[in-house]
Every structure is written in structure tokens, then in C-alpha cells.
């Protein structure tokens, strides 16, 4: 309850802050914020281009939100288990490229999901193993792995898998893509995120898993007090390894729903920022799986609504990113505040 209040407070303060900036720039904050909602398909726009309406906007919104849910779940689970998984981006990339390669051979959506799950899990497990076996700090290994994975993938894409026109990787075939792109229904054309229901199920399942199973109980005990967990007869190292494997698997799902869903390509040389944003989203959601869904919803409104806002109000998209950054910063602060009050 406290966490909820603090998160709400973080959002309100940052929105007010953003409004102040917009106002100082001589823009109308209310209109700008309405544009964010309109751009996310949550409010009716004044005018739509052909085959578009509020519903199609909303479907695109869900498409953008799906990987964010997975990524924040990955962070939240790791946090609960005492890990700071700053390597979600690397795990996403690993999952993305694995799925791309596999889809080139056998184009199947199920295989794409499984490949992502597995690739992410392997990277997560590596981090967990280094921690539990050699006590190497997971923050260090995961940051390093982010770079290592990114460069290996960049090399691979540039050499074997480049689309020379777009300077991106080749696109994943439509039959293996987790987003039905340009799907026609009635007179509308939309993107359907097939993985969205999976993300919601994952959040519910993870919540149940943490609160109602002995494995969740062990993860939380190890996360809060490894010494007490050991005294309780738990296998602390195995639990830690398991936590990171599962966290990696969730990051892998974020990876495939991002690189083989929301996007169809991987841009070489870039570590996706979603893995880092997910940390703040998870904090905003109180490291609670259900909270993560709501926090992802909120952050996606801003990231997704930005384009429309900047075009309507002639505001640089950076300003919207700035507001999103405010929310995330305040969210992080509120999490710290919560801890200090104890």
C-alpha cells in the first residue's frame, strides 16, 4: 500500500514537472498530455489517415508495451531474489538473434518463443552461476555481457546477416514474427501483438509463483536474507541460480517480442535501452509483477504517444523522453525513500 502511494506520488510529481517544462516552452501542457493519450490510442484523435482509427492506435500501443512488460518482469523477479539484473538488454539481444537465426531455418512462432526463452535463460544462468559459484558481482558481469553480446551480434549481422539498404539485420519472416503486421480487419489495418496475452499470463503466473509457491518463498527469503535462508535449510546457491535463469528467460521473451515482434530487425551496434528503462519500470511497479504491468502501461503511453505529441505541438520528441525519464527517476527515488523509512 505504501509502495503504491509512493509510486503514484512519483508519477504525479513528474507529470507536474513535465507540465512546468512544457509551460515554460510556451506550450499547452494539457493539450500535450492529451496528445500522449491520443497517440497511444486511449483518446480519440481529431483526424485519422486511411485505415486507421483509435483502435488501431491502441493495438500498436499494446505491441510496444508487450516487450516492456516482459523486461520489467525480468528485473522484478531478479530484484526479489536479491539480484540487480542490469543485463536485460544483453539477454534480449541474445534471444533476438537466436530467434532470428532459427526462424530463418524453421519459420515457426512457437519456436521463436522457445528459442528466446532458452537463449535468455542461458545468459541469465551464466550470470547466476558466476555469482553463486565464484561470487562475482552480477552487476559487473551483466554489464560486461551486454557489451560482449552486442559486439558479437554486431559482428555477425554485419558479416552474414545485413540488409545493405537499411543497414539493419535482415527482417524476420512474417510467419515467424510475433506481431501480425498490417493485419486487415473490416476496413482497418493494424499490428497485433500476439505475445501480449502471453505477457499478461506471465505477469499473473509470476505473481502466483512468488506469493503462493515454495519456490517463490525460497527466492524471496534468499533475496532478503541469504544467511537466514541458509539457516532455514534452503539451497541458497541453487535458488540464486534458478532466479537468474528465470529472470533471463523473461528477458529472452522481452527480446523476441521486441526484435521479432514490435520490430522485425536488429540494429547492429546498439544495446536496446529498454533493458535499462525496465529497471525503473520495475521499481515504479514496486517490483511486483502486477505492478509491472501497470507501470509498463504508463511508460508506454509516454514513449508511444511522443510521436503524435511532437507533431501536433511542435515539441521535440526529446521533451517527451525527458518526462518519461522524470517519472523513472522519481520512481527510483521513491523506491529508495521506501527503503530508508524502514
Amino acid at each position: 500500500m505504501r509502495k503504491f502511494t509512493l509510486s503514484c506520488l512519483a508519477i504525479v510529481i513528474s507529470l507536474l514537472f513535465g507540465a512546468l517544462i512544457l509551460w515554460l516552452m510556451g506550450k499547452d501542457p494539457v493539450a500535450a498530455y492529451m496528445n500522449l493519450l491520443q497517440g497511444s490510442g486511449l483518446m480519440e484523435k481529431a483526424r485519422y489517415s486511411g485505415r486507421q482509427n483509435m483502435f488501431t492506435d491502441f493495438m500498436s500501443f499494446l505491441d510496444a508495451m508487450t516487450p516492456m512488460i516482459f523486461a520489467s518482469l525480468s528485473v522484478a523477479l531478479a530484484m526479489r531474489g536479491g539480484f540487480f539484473n542490469i543485463g536485460v538488454s544483453g539477454q534480449m539481444l541474445a534471444a533476438g538473434i537466436t530467434a532470428h537465426m532459427l526462424a530463418g531455418v524453421i519459420p515457426s512462432r512457437v519456436l521463436v518463443v522457445l528459442a528466446g526463452l532458452l537463449a535468455g535463460a542461458i545468459v541469465g544462468a551464466l550470470i547466476g552461476w558466476l555469482k553463486s559459484r565464484f561470487n562475482v558481482n552480477e552487476v559487473v558481469t551483466s554489464i560486461m555481457l551486454n557489451s560482449i553480446i552486442m559486439y558479437v551480434i554486431t559482428f555477425y549481422i554485419n558479416v552474414f546477416y545485413i540488409n545493405p539498404v537499411s543497414r539493419q539485420s535482415k527482417a524476420v519472416v512474417d510467419s515467424a514474427r510475433l506481431t501480425l503486421s498490417g493485419f486487415r480487419w473490416e476496413n482497418l489495418k493494424m499490428d497485433i501483438a500476439l505475445a501480449f496475452p502471453l505477457a499478461i499470463i506471465a505477469a499473473l503466473l509470476l505473481h502466483w509463483f512468488l506469493e503462493r509457491t515454495t519456490y517463490g518463498y525460497e527466492i524471496k527469503a534468499v533475496g532478503l536474507s541469504p544467511k537466514a535462508a541458509y539457516y532455514a535449510g534452503m539451497n541458497v546457491n541453487r535458488t540464486a541460480l534458478f532466479t537468474m535463469t528465470l529472470s533471463g528467460a523473461l528477458a529472452g521473451l522481452a527480446g523476441v517480442s521486441y526484435f521479432c515482434g514490435y520490430l522485425a530487425t536488429i540494429q547492429p551496434g546498439v544495446v536496446p535501452s529498454m533493458g535499462f528503462d525496465a529497471i525503473a519500470v520495475s521499481l515504479l511497479g514496486g517490483n511486483n509483477p502486477i505492478g509491472c504491468v501497470f507501470a509498463s502501461f504508463l511508460i508506454t503511453i509516454i514513449s508511444k504517444g511522443t510521436v503524435y505529441m511532437s507533431s501536433r505541438q511542435h515539441i521535440e520528441p526529446e521533451i517527451a523522453s525527458l518526462i518519461a525519464a522524470f517519472i523513472l527517476t522519481f520512481a527510483a527515488c521513491s523506491a529508495v525513500l521506501d527503503r530508508r523509512k524502514k
Partner: protein, 511 residues
Amino acid sequence: MSEPIVEFRHITKRFPGIIANEDVSLSINKGEIFALLGENGAGKSTLMSMLFGMYEPDEGEIIIRGKRERIASPRYATQLSIGMVHQEFRLVSNYTVAENIILGLEPERKILGLFPSVDIKKANHDIAELSERYGLKINPEDVIENLNVASRQRVEILKMLYREAEILIFDEPTAVLTPQEIESFLKIVEGLRQGGKTIILITHKLNEIKAVADRCAILNRGKLVSILDVATTTTDEMARQMVGREISFTTPKEPAKFGEVVLNVEGLTVKGSAGLDAVKGVTFTIHSGEVFAVAGVSGNGQNELADSIAGLVQSSSGRITLNGQDITRASVRERINAGIAYIPEDRHNVGLVLDFTLRDNFPLRQYYIPKFSRKGVINEAAFDEHGKRLEAEFDIRSSNGMDTITREMSGGNQQKAIIAREVDMRTPLIIFMQPTRGLDAGAVMNIHKQIIAERDRGAAVLLISLDLDEIMDCADTIAVIYNGGINKIAPAGELTVDDIGLYMMGVGKTA
């Protein structure tokens, strides 16, 4: 009569669900040793925390040196020359004594008249002088992590003196000390008073109050019961007022009826954290229906002994058998299942997951048995029912019932919760490691009764304690540990406190 230096007037402090202090008025004179006596949760620490600026009272006022003050922070309290030594010391363990003491008040000097730097030489010199003046025997250049608990406490005292504190508050200062250390601590306190300081002791050890304090205030459930002149009051009278009922200091018990051998330890050797042998070839047996008490000065291998029997630390040689079953190499969980309950010394970091609710802490060592979970799915109703039963049976008090975060509970109730959890497992062997450290007389008596009840139910009890009174009160058999070896094992009736004291110091080493 000297003038009052601190006055509390009608102080009331509430926390959610609890009134910590209710209309407390008392005044403390300059240059006296004033003791605050009361059970856990009686509101002693809260009252003093207000004096030290960690909380502000909801009602009432605090007068310092005749002037009404609003003490909003420890920083301001320090300006008013009030100092406090907390139960848990606040020292940076890889800094030297001097570095710790000057932290925040570093004496500066300018290199080449320009670049500011910390004048550590001056600090070392000043601190050595202070230490000398009050007989604290502390070398300012020692690193904290190499010092024992008693020395660290003296560093905390020096820290207050360095800040020129006039009013010194000690929160349960002797809870972590051995009898010898307590004696020298009391001498130090006496010396501080002669140096003109005013001293406030928060404690529930009556003997210490009797030994040094001038007056003592007794609190019970947040209310001031009385203020007594220590010289003219007996300890029995103090105890009676503190708990609001008569208490006796010896737990009534039937003669022990020993049964079969439950625990057999043979030549047990355990390495300590430094890699040296902390327990050296220890051999003993405990029978069903026996309280086997291990006495000794702190740091002679007690922790390692308890941890190795409970399975938290593996032994390097020797054999441990429980009811004939060899458990030398068994894991913690295997030992729980074999029937070892363990109340560890460190109730905060080991005995409880402090950020769990009370409900989740009770099944901590049993959550996997069919009663609490099936196929990995937790039976919440069983968690809840189990917790509520233990809460009622063991009189565990918390502000929010099963949903209370254990971190927010008082130390005594945390310990009660651990003991409730372990006792309720009804195991053939139960290990109590320092079970009453820092607890008040009422709680101590209760725990001693439970130890005896465990024995009478037929359990083998291993009690490891630094508190000789506790050992004398509960033990059927007494063993003395010194330097990792067991120096003496004898039936309780055959040893006097003085004998044990000698064995504890390593005198009369027989085998």
C-alpha cells in the same frame, strides 16, 4: 542537591498501534548515574531516542539545562552535548579508531599552508590523551575490525567524549559483554561520572544498577512506575515494580530424568572464519531429558560448536550422531528433518527474515513439509493458522498481527517468535545459543521455563550461554569451553560459580 540537567515533562509518544510512552515526567540531575529500568517494549529506548533527537515527542516537552529544546536531530542533540551509544555499534570496521572518532569533525591542517588535509596526528594524540584520562586503554591507531566487542564499545564512548558530550546515554551497554568486561565497563562509567559527566543507563540488569546507579526510573508499558533511590531499594523490589509482579530468579524445576543418549559428539574439530581451528576435538554426549549447558567467555568456539551441530558449518574432523544416526556430513535440511531445532545467536540476520511478515517467518524451517505445502504450492491457510496458534501460545506481541513485518517488532518479541518456531517443531535435540541476550527479566524467566519444559518433554537441550546465572539456573550438566576445547564436564550440583569462572579462564585444564 545539584540542579537537573535533563527534564522530561509529560512526554507522550505514539507509534501505529502502540503507545510507547505515556505522560512520562522525570528529571535527571547533573553528574548522576541514572538508570532506566523496564521490560522489553516498556519504552526506555524510545524515551532516550527522543532525548537524542531520533524521534520527537507527540506531546510534552524536553528541558535541557533549564531551557526548553526541540531536539529535531541527533546532530542537534550533539550540539547540546548529548551523546548516545546504541546497542548496535555504529563504526566503520575498516577504519582505525581515530578515523572513526573524528568522522564528521575532522581536524584540518593545511599542507604548504594551502591544501586542506585531515590532521590525523593531532587526532591520534588527542584521542590517546582522552583514552588515558578515562582509563579506556584504547590505541587510536588500531583498526576497528581487529577489536573485540568490549573495545569497540569503548571506542563509542571515546567518540562521545571527543564530541564533548556531557550527557551520555547507554542503550543496553552490557548485553554483549562478558562478566569481566561488565566489571571494567562499570568502572569506566564510574570514572566518567567523576569526570563530571551525567550518565543514563538503559538496562534491565538489576545487579549493575545496584552497583553503579544513583537513582533509577522504572517504566512499565510506556508509563513511569516510580523513581527510586538505588541505595535504599532492594533488587527484588526493583524487579517487582518492573514486571508488576513478583518474580523469582531461579526457575523451579524437578530433578532431571535422563533417558537415552540423543546427541553424541566425538572429537569434533571445526575451523573458524579465520581458518584456524575454533573447536578442537570436542567430545560429549547429551541425553534425553538433560540440559547440557556450555559456559565460557565469548569467542572461545561457542558459535562454531553450535553452527557445526546444526549443520551451518561443516566440521573438519570428528563425528556427530543423533539418535544413533550419523549426521556428520548431513546438510542443514537433513538435520532439521533428523530432529535438530536451533535458536541461533544472531536473531536479526540468521534467525529471521526480517522483512518477511510474522506469518511467513514461522514456517521458515518447515515450509516444505506436507502440512504447509503440497507439490510446491503453499497452503496459506496452514501458514496463517500455524502463526496465529504460535502467537497465542507464546504470547508474541506485535502491532499488526500476522501481517507485521518482523523488523518492526521489539527484540524480545522477535526472540519469542524464533523460540516459538523452534520449540514447536518438537525435535529430539534443541540448541539454544545465547537465548536471552538483551532480554528483560520477565522474558528471561519465560525462556528459562521453556528450556526446562523442553527438557521435561524429553528433549536433549544444548544451552550455550555467556551468562553464568542462566547456566546455573537451567543446567543439569555443565561443560566449560575454553580456547575451543571443553575444559570440564560435571553435573551442575558439583560446580560453584567460582569454579566455573576459573575453568572459563583456562585454569585447571584437565583434558
